[in-house]
């Protein structure tokens, strides 16, 4: 048996696990035990091995690797003796800590707090004065004109909405009265009854709801809709298999941020986690980013993709077309929601919209609850319509 790690290392390891925990990694007692055991097997003077060992035990997701590396640098990495005096290598990366925690850790580790705290985005959703409307009125009221209290009502309306996303057949089979013969069960039964195939059991594919992927434009021109659309996303995330992304100049995945049960906390983390709310729009680039980085991961199992944007695009329309064609090919269905479609006399004439239109399966409005309910009906009935 190798020697146990030096005793004074254990409390330090515990503190390191707490730092990772504060930075959003799951570093519970079980992992800590594993880390302690792992360190017993390696040469602690080899810093790279020490780092790799802790990484393989304390990280289990690629996205968490940079956070781990930053935390490791801040916590363990001593200044490289070969580096010129005055430079602390590797201590420039920032950690996603809340301001209070960052301050506490900086004090504990004797560091400058600015090194630890990630830039905070002051953008908040605009809150306005209160008001009240009857439900039916609310259903048809444009999101743009809604007050804060009305948006609360909308949230309740959306949560009660009766629709669910359509199902698809999976490759997994389950027992059923009709369908293909289940040889396994039939034979098993036959063996029990002296080898005669008395009963034929059957099975058919199980059905599952299709995953939804929401790609939402939160650029400047969409600003007045973005809070409502986030409420919409949160309401769906509560009950469907949803992957959500927002973009203005770049694409950010907000799936995990939306998972919080409490709407306000979810919205708060979205606004903190997304750094380019109300920026310019490059739809083509954002979709390109999605196609390359995310499509293979989130478009399995016959996903339905919903893009919400007004189509005001400062990017290259040719790029947008190319990315949409690619996206449509890898999605079960591609739906474009445009809040402007609800306004009177609107024609999809913006360059982006004109480029996008021919490549979407559906083009719908998204300016009020009634429009979102139409979307719900479409999603619920997807397979009863012939697609493409």
């Amino acid at each position: 048996m190798p020697e146990a790690p030096r005793v004074d290392l254990l409390p330090r390891l515990g503190a390191f696990a707490r730092l990772l925990h504060d930075a959003g990694l799951e570093a519970g007692p079980r992992r800590l035990t594993d880390a302690t055991r792992a360190l017993g097997f390696i040469d602690l003077t080899q810093q790279d091995d020490f780092r790799s060992a802790l990484r393989s035990v304390l990280v289990s997701r690629k996205e968490d690797i940079p956070v781990f590396e930053a935390a490791f640098d801040i916590f363990w990495a001593p200044p490289d003796p070969r580096a010129p005096a005055g430079i602390i290598p590797g201590r420039t990366r920032s950690l996603p800590l809340s301001p209070e925690r960052a301050k506490a850790w900086a004090d504990a580790l004797g560091l400058n707090a600015s090194r630890m705290n990630r830039e905070q985005n002051p953008d908040e959703f605009p809150a306005s004065s209160s008001g009240y409307s009857a439900e039916e009125l609310l259903r048809h009221k444009d999101f743009e004109e809604m007050t804060w209290a009305e948006t609360e009502q909308v949230r309740r309306l959306l949560e009660q909405a009766p629709w669910r996303v359509a199902e698809r057949r999976t490759r997994r089979l389950r027992p059923s009265r009709a369908g293909r013969i289940d040889l396994r069960r039939s034979a098993r039964h036959a063996i029990r009854s002296s080898g005669e195939l008395m009963t034929l059991f059957r099975r058919k594919p199980r059905v599952r709801r299709r995953p939804l992927v929401l790609i939402c434009d939160v650029s400047g021109s969409m600003e007045r809709y973005s809070r409502l659309l986030m409420i919409f996303a949160h309401a769906i995330a509560r009950r469907e298999d949803l992957e959500a992304f927002v973009f203005s100049t770049r694409l950010t995945r907000i799936t995990r941020l939306l998972r919080q049960r409490d709407l306000d906390r979810a919205l708060d983390s979205v606004s903190k986690g997304v750094h380019d709310f109300s920026g310019g729009t490059r739809i083509g680039d954002a979709l390109g980013d999605f196609n390359r980085r995310w499509a293979r991961r989130v478009l399995g199992h016959g996903a339905v993709v919903i893009i919400i944007s007004d189509g005001w695009d400062r990017g290259d329309p040719a790029r947008l077309t190319a990315e949409l064609i690619h996206l449509r090919r890898s999605a079960h269905r591609l739906i474009w929601l445009n809040p402007l479609l609800g306004s009177e006399g609107y024609e999809p004439l913006t360059r982006g919209m004109a480029a996008a239109l021919p490549h979407c399966d559906d083009f719908l409005a998204a300016h009020n609850v009634a429009a979102l309910e139409d979307l719900g009906r479409l999603l619920a009935g997807l397979d009863s319509r012939t697609t493409r």
Partner: protein, 295 residues
């Protein structure tokens, strides 16, 4: 063969079997062996995840048992299945007077059991614990993941007619994922985690030399540099190391010892698998070749 005693030992043995990996991978493998925990390897397609498990089996002198996952994979395909046609036949051929109870015991014995990879890995009599490769777990579904979670915590399987079979020796488990979806945290928590990145140029040249020795040294370097250049481009499907190797082998098979724009254009299907990517790269072939030769 004895288990590796140090990280260096793992590194050396991998290298002897022409697997060129980082020291951090060797560290993860070493710890997985020592802590007796499964190793969860993630990375883009074609970075050598499956290969790592295969080489591990060789390194340990163990049998490799591979389970390829797919959507809808179930226990009948992963663990065991009774050989029903044989059982039925056996029962039909039995004389009237024979003891049915004894017959039933007989047909539910291991002779009529079709052992699938997971049962094979658990119920093993190998002199060295086998390496169980659960490949591309991201293709399976949540039900199967939940089952694996259970299996990996107690390494036992229950077969109602036979009883519970517990592993006498725990296999070394390697799980790979291409990240086409997120695997559940509970499963990952049971494992050590390792992310395999694309290698840098020198490492990739080394890999090509080790795994495609038919490619001349100059060719190996230029192809590796070319692929490194492609990885910097905005492509739908970035070529992995497997593609670099395919490409080097194709060029070597054509008798090439250096690359040129004509050869590259003719063979780049070995590395690029989307029409849009081929079109995008085609215009830039001369510049890419030029840059690769200077690398």
């Amino acid at each position: 063969m004895s288990a590796p005693a140090t990280i260096e030992d793992v590194e050396r043995r991998l290298r002897e079997r022409r697997y060129i990996g980082d020291r951090s991978l060797a560290t993860s493998i070493f710890l997985a062996l020592k802590l007796e925990k499964p190793l969860f390897i993630e990375g883009e397609a074609g970075v050598g995840k499956t290969e790592a498990a295969k080489v591990m089996a060789e390194v340990l002198g163990a049998r490799l048992i591979r389970l390829q996952c797919y959507e809808g994979i179930d226990l009948a395909h992963a663990v065991y299945e009774w050989n029903y046609p044989r059982q039925l036949l056996h029962i039909r051929l039995m004389g009237e007077g024979e003891d049915r109870r004894a017959a039933e015991r007989e047909i539910f014995s291991s002779e009529f059991l079709l052992r699938r990879p997971l049962l094979d890995a658990i119920d093993n009599d190998d002199s060295t614990p086998p390496v169980l490769l659960i490949d591309e777990i991201d293709r399976s579904d949540e039900e199967f993941e939940a089952f694996l979670l259970e299996l990996l915590s107690d390494f036992q399987v229950s077969i109602p007619e036979i009883g519970t079979i517990k592993a006498r020796q725990v296999p070394f488990v390697v799980i790979t994922s291409n990240r086409t979806r997120e695997v559940h945290d509970a499963l990952k928590r049971r494992c050590l985690y390792h992310w395999i990145d694309y290698p840098d140029l020198d490492k990739e040249v080394e890999i090509v030399r080790a795994r495609a020795p038919e490619a001349a040294d100059g060719l190996a370097r230029e192809v590796a540099a070319l692929v490194q250049g492609l990885r910097g481009m905005d492509l739908y499907k970035v070529p992995g190391v497997a593609e670099t190797l395919d490409w080097a082998r194709s060029l070597a098979a054509l008798g090439a010892t250096r690359i040129d724009p004509g050869l590259v254009s003719a063979t780049m299907g070995a590395a690029l698998k989307y029409q849009e990517d081929l079109d995008r790269v085609r215009e830039q072939v001369p510049a890419l070749v030029e840059k690769a030769k200077r690398a």
